[in-house]
Amino acid sequence: MGLDAFWSNIFRLNDVKDVFSILKNIPLFQDLKSYELIKLSKSLHHRSFFQNEVIFREKEPGAGMYIVKSGLVKIFIKTNEGKEHELTRLEKGDFFGEISLIDESPRSASAVALEDTELMGFFRADLLNLMDRDPILASKILMHLAIVLGKRLRQTNLDLKKLQYNAE
């Protein structure tokens, strides 16, 4: 019998090198210098989820993004009939929920851990705190967030045009 999430979050050991290697590959945190990554890593919240534990639900007010440190996460939405439609699966080094860094708008999908998973959370409250403590670092993160969201928006526009073209 393993420890549940309540206890595992108290007895946590941070693997600094592993955290750094993951953060460097996240588009939001690329081009950050080593001391900036150190400062950023201190703002992260390490959370453990056991298999089949819900990370967040669709339409729940969003608080921030998560980065997969280990394990597997399923992102899915519920259809009108109430069935689950899987959108993607995320593994170590992937990230999700970054739109919630901007505002408290409801989550557009649900996330659940498919196996015992460790996530690093970076939340809006932490970003706002970082704006006071290191405005330059916060600006870099916001700039990269804008780039990521801009790319997604362009891709969505392209997909919409294709659908319209196919419909015609």
Partner: protein, 364 residues
């Protein structure tokens, strides 16, 4: 949504066991706080100062790159400025306090004589007041009011705060350097299901509380300076002490400003012995309140707690009833915190109710 849990990840405690464990731990914490109540005042003062000084330390951390250096620089300047201020103003304040202590019995005697003369004069002119025992009833009310909000009570409160100050620099140092890590560790204990909600809640409470405390401090300093200058210009004795008390008393809504005016009224009237002295003090304090309400507060409190004045009044009355002076001082920030908590809980409740409704619709 799959509900089956893997065998190796079964929870250690059932929900009921967790609730009972939580209640036991909560009771132990409260008992521990009760036993260590001697430490509560320095911790509370350090926490308030940490809220006040954190934004400044954040700015300094950006300049010096290391938070420890930022805190040391702050301490150096703070103790330097405070030391300089004390060197200049402390002798004057000590002289005023000494003079006030020596003259206090004489002031009491003069007030008693004045009261007796006024009572005899009014009861001779208006026998109805004598029949109704108006003055005796007024005296009972005044004594009750004076006991709660007297100059002595305020001075005793200030002295008890000063006696705890020796621990504050050390506790504050830890809070300023490790405050974020302490908060993060505490948040690490929250179960995943409630983590995001409580993280949001603590952030909003911190921002509101910090902003409100900073606004209160700035307002108190400005009012203390203005009141001291006004009283010094008039030549009122003990101008610095009364001016300082005006700023401190103003922290208590509705009651504070009037309380601060009373010692100024008594001291100036006993010096000048004219009715004009009372008028000048009343007019001056009314002008101070006007400046405070119309100019200072709108500028300083623009992003602070937004609470209806009626709720503020009720909170102050309840705070005073159950907590005395400290209750009245803490009433408004506590109501602000409650407001934030209620808003977040309402949002969470609405979301969960919507989830339950959608689940019912799917099943039907």
């Amino acid at each position: 949504m799959p509900n089956n849990l893997s065998a190796k990840s079964q929870p250690l405690f059932s929900p009921m066991q967790k609730i009972i464990l939580g209640i036991c731990i909560g009771a132990l914490i409260i008992y521990g706080l009760y036993l260590s109540q001697i430490l509560m005042l320095p911790f509370l003062i350090s926490l308030i100062l940490a809220y006040l000084l954190s934004p400044l330390v954040d700015r300094l951390e950006f300049v010096f790159k290391k938070r420890v250096i930022a805190v040391f620089v702050l301490y150096f300047f703070f103790f330097g400025i405070v030391g300089l201020g004390l060197m200049v103003w402390l002798p004057k304040i000590i002289n005023e306090v000494t003079a006030l202590t020596i003259n206090a019995p004489a002031y009491s005697q003069k007030i008693e004589t004045l009261k007796t003369e006024l009572k005899t004069e009014v009861e001779q002119k208006y026998p109805l007041i004598k029949n109704m025992q108006g003055f005796d009833k007024l005296e009972i009310l005044t004594k009750k009011f004076a006991k709660e909000f007297s100059f002595t009570t305020m001075m005793i409160s200030i002295v008890s705060i000063i006696s705890s100050i020796s621990l504050v620099p050390f506790i504050l140092f830890i809070f300023l350097i490790e405050g974020n890590e302490i908060k993060k560790t505490a948040l690490g204990l929250i179960p995943n299901r409630y983590f995001e909600m409580i993280l949001n809640l603590t952030h909003k409470i911190s921002s509101q509380l910090g902003g409100y405390l900073r606004a209160m401090l700035i307002e108190s300093i400005i009012l203390s300076v203005l009141a001291s200058l006004f009283l010094l210009a008039l030549g009122v004795d003990y101008a610095l002490i009364i001016g300082g008390l005006t700023g401190f008393a103003n922290l208590i809504p509705y009651v504070g400003p009037f309380t601060a005016a009373i010692p100024a009224l008594i001291v100036f009237y006993l010096k000048m012995k004219t009715f004009n002295a009372i008028l000048i003090i009343v007019a001056g304090f009314c002008a101070l309140q006007f400046i405070d309400n119309m100019i200072i507060q709108p500028i300083i409190y623009s992003q602070s707690i937004d609470i209806h004045p009626l709720i503020v009044l009720c909170a102050v009355i309840l705070g005073g009833t159950y907590g005395g002076l400290w209750g009245m001082f803490l009433a408004v920030p506590m109501v602000g915190i409650l407001k934030v908590i209620c808003k977040e809980l309402l949002k969470e409740f609405r979301f969960r109710r919507q989830m339950a409704l959608e689940a019912d619709e799917t099943m039907s």
